[in-house]
């Protein structure tokens, strides 16, 4: 396993491989029986505009700190075994991976709940910003559903 996969919280320019991340978290405990993943990808349409490119910027250190807080809270509140959160920054083309959350629990229910909560919390408290490029120019997105 690479050093990168050993870290449960990552903000990186490089793409990630979902199956590698699932295999990495499976190694955490033999009691893992349910793994839920959320994968966010770059979509072409947003509010009626055609997007050609996305760019993500983050506040280094604070963004990682918030993701770690989310991970720790998910483990405690939802009683899951572990969680990994990866978010890409920089230029992202349509269809490329943006964000991955992997929630691993003994059973499926807590993993589903933790995963759904974690992506909502990521959007709420993590200092990461998205810039969309359309035919009308570039715009920093300020409100995401």
């Amino acid at each position: 396993m690479t050093q990168a996969l050993e870290s449960k919280i990552r903000i990186q320019k490089e793409d990630f491989v979902v199956s590698d991340e699932i295999e990495a978290i499976k190694k955490v405990s033999p009691n893992i029986g349910g793994i839920v993943t959320f994968l966010g990808t770059g979509r072409e349409q947003s509010k009626g505009e055609t997007i050609s490119e996305l760019n993500f910027e983050h506040y280094p250190q604070m963004a990682e700190k918030k993701l770690e807080e989310i991970r720790q809270q998910a483990i405690v509140d939802y009683k899951i075994i572990d969680m990994s959160i990866i978010h890409r920054i920089g230029k992202i083309d349509i269809g490329e991976n943006i964000v991955l959350i992997v929630a691993a629990g003994e059973h499926r229910k807590e993993a589903f709940l933790a995963c759904e909560w974690a992506i909502a919390e990521l959007k709420r408290i993590t200092p990461i910003w998205k810039r969309e490029t359309t035919t009308n120019g570039e715009v920093w997105v300020q409100d995401t559903p």
């Binding site: 966010g40 990808t41 770059g42 979509r43 993500f56 910027e57 983050h58 506040y59 250190q61 604070m62 963004a63 700190k65 978010h87 943006i98 964000v99 992506i119 990521l122 959007k123 709420r124 408290i125 993590t126 200092p127 990461i128 910003w129 998205k130 810039r131 920093w140 997105v141 300020q142 409100d143 995401t144």
Partner: protein, 83 residues
Amino acid sequence: MIIVKYFASLKNIAGKEEDRFDLANGSTLNELCQAISKTNPQLGKMVQEKKVMISVNLDVVSLDHILNDGDEVALLPPFSGGI
């Protein structure tokens, strides 16, 4: 010396990524915001209207927070990570 960082859309408004302000010891974040308003009224208005969050040394704090020399303050527009 207080370091002020701007992110995303605020970087465009400020015209820079970072600023430095000399304030008296014991100054509050509110007093820093007033100093920012003098150099950039548009940014000051956004702070006043609570359109941005403000962190000090990576923690979001309120305007009555007391600043110390060397603190890193960041003006944070609404987040839009994820998808």
